[in-house]
């Protein structure tokens, strides 16, 4: 549907590139104003904002490291000052480190847990009061196929953090349901982004040959699913983990 997000205001973390950037563009195309959070990709975020504005939607670019509570608070306050409300949260910011357990330091573990899991909790905590007040909200948490299946590279902190995202989703769908807020998680297979370029070519080719659709997924395909779940159309879907993987991990 062309305008399934008409009038909605969406905060997307890590929207300077990859899936987050695609979400901002697709959600703007479908009618939403967007808050584009980035940590390091400032130019990317500005480019996304420019694109969003060219579609006639409003865009706010906000730098924040979403693993830090005070930065999350500041980001949300800034967004509310500009837009008055936040209807949709897309918890997209996240990182790999590709480090197997025997090489991993405890700092490297905490870093990924904080960036991928704690950040999602912090953002949810910050936006829920407003969503509850208006009795409407959508939260879409980007998990990963690795959350369900583990990581081919033995990347323990990534898989564990993303599995934690599923637990976060399941912990919250019941208490939020009474307030018109749905919360769901997505589990994409490797998608055509910078993160995927960190995967060894043989492994990537391995993924493709195990994918019935015969290709890596595109960022806009994930974004379309995010858009749908963030709309009124998906009002009866909550607590779910939806996999988008071209058939590679049924």
């Amino acid at each position: 549907m062309d305008n399934e997000l008409q009038g909605r205001i969406a905060l997307i973390t890590g929207a300077g590139r990859g899936i987050g950037a695609a979400c901002a563009k697709v959600m703007a195309k479908r009618g939403a104003d967007v808050i584009i959070n980035y940590c390091h990709s400032e130019q990317g975020a500005e480019d996304v904002a420019k694109h969003v504005r060219s579609l006639g939607r409003r865009a706010l670019v906000v730098q924040a490291d979403v693993s830090k509570p005070e930065q999350v608070q500041a980001m949300v306050s800034q967004a509310l000052a500009e837009f008055v409300r936040i209807d949709i949260l897309v918890n997209n910011a996240g990182r790999h480190n590709h480090i197997p357990i025997d090489e991993m330091s405890i700092e490297q573990w905490y870093d990924i847990i904080d960036t991928n899991l704690t950040s999602q909790m912090l953002c949810i905590k910050a936006v829920i009061p407003g969503m509850k007040q208006q009795e409407w909200g959508r939260i879409v948490n980007l998990a990963a196929m690795a959350a369900l299946k583990g990581s081919g590279s033995g990347d323990v902190s990534y898989s564990a953090s993303k599995a934690g995202v599923l637990g976060l989703t399941r912990a919250l769908f019941r208490p939020l349901a009474a307030h018109g807020i749905t919360i769901n998680a997505l589990a994409p297979s490797p998608i055509d982004t910078d993160m995927v370029s960190g995967i060894a070519p043989e492994r990537l080719q391995g993924y493709i040959s195990n994918t019935p659709v015969g290709r890596i997924g595109r960022v806009d395909e994930v974004a379309e699913l995010v858009s749908f779940l963030s709309s009124d159309r998906a009002s009866y879907i909550t607590g779910q983990v939806i996999s988008i993987n071209g058939g590679s991990a049924v």
Partner: protein, 252 residues
């Protein structure tokens, strides 16, 4: 532009309930629709009128999907008239409205559930896939039920097993169909406010069922139809072999 612009969708059992909602929502999104019904001709005509009100073409085709010959005839009719079928929504289904004890039930109850709910879906898939393969584009959505995931408190093995079988159709076929641009997925509705649900649950039991749904109400058939429409669009080309639950949190 709608997400199904120009697509031709065959929806079995679309004279009422979830099927009728699929017809309306998909027409809203730009599809031409084949409204299949078994008995309820007047209801089918009403749905067809709604489809036309969106400016879309519609064909009404009577067929009992538990009869394989009738499925063939239905599909042939559509192909003769419109040349192709892009989307199949396997929605027609049956649920006995009389409670039964599985120890004493007649085998006919089992046979009917399997034939009408499961075998018919495969027969429809078989009928439409050749055309979809030829054009290298297709969408198949099979309607299941939350009971296939959470089971039945009342020993309703016929319905639950038939719908669990439905879940196996997408799992069995997604890999074969993917190289042809055909996705196949299952939608598993929760407790949805339809004639079927109200006939099976009865007014006294509905509040007990609603009490265990976090969203606090039954789903509307439109809420199921919206997901079906999305899955049948180009937007969902990378989603296949999946089961998507639309159940207000009734089962995770």
């Amino acid at each position: 532009m709608g997400e199904l612009e120009g697509k031709i969708a065959l929806i079995t059992g679309s004279s009422r309930g979830i099927g009728a909602s699929c017809a309306r929502v998909m027409a809203r999104e730009g599809a031409d629709v084949v409204v299949n019904y078994r008995q309820n001709k007047d209801a089918a005509e009403e749905v067809a009128a709604d489809v036309r009100s969106y400016g879309r073409r519609v064909r009404i085709v009577q067929a009992d999907v538990s009869e394989r010959a009738q499925i063939q005839a239905m599909v042939q009719q559509v192909l003769d008239a419109w040349g192709r079928i892009d989307v199949l929504v396997n929605n027609a289904g049956h649920h006995s409205t009389q409670p039964y004890m599985f120890e004493t039930m007649g085998w006919d109850l089992w046979d009917q559930a399997i034939e009408t709910n499961l075998t018919s879906q495969l027969a429809c898939i078989k009928a439409v896939v050749p055309g979809m393969k030829q054009q290298r584009w297709g969408r198949i959505v099979n309607m299941s039920s939350v009971t296939s995931q959470r089971g039945s408190g009342s020993g309703d093995v016929c319905y639950v097993a038939s719908k669990s079988g439905v879940n196996g159709l997408a799992r069995g076929l997604f890999s074969l169909l993917a190289p042809f641009g055909i996705t196949i997925n299952t939608v598993s509705p929760g407790t949805t406010d339809t004639d079927l649900t109200r006939a099976v649950l009865t007014p006294e039991r509905i509040p007990q069922y609603v009490a265990r749904i976090p969203i606090g109400r039954m789903g509307t058939p439109d809420e199921v139809a919206e997901v079906v429409s999305f899955l049948c669009s180009d937007r969902a080309a990378y989603i296949t072999g999946q089961l998507i639950a639309v159940n207000g949190g009734e089962y995770v």
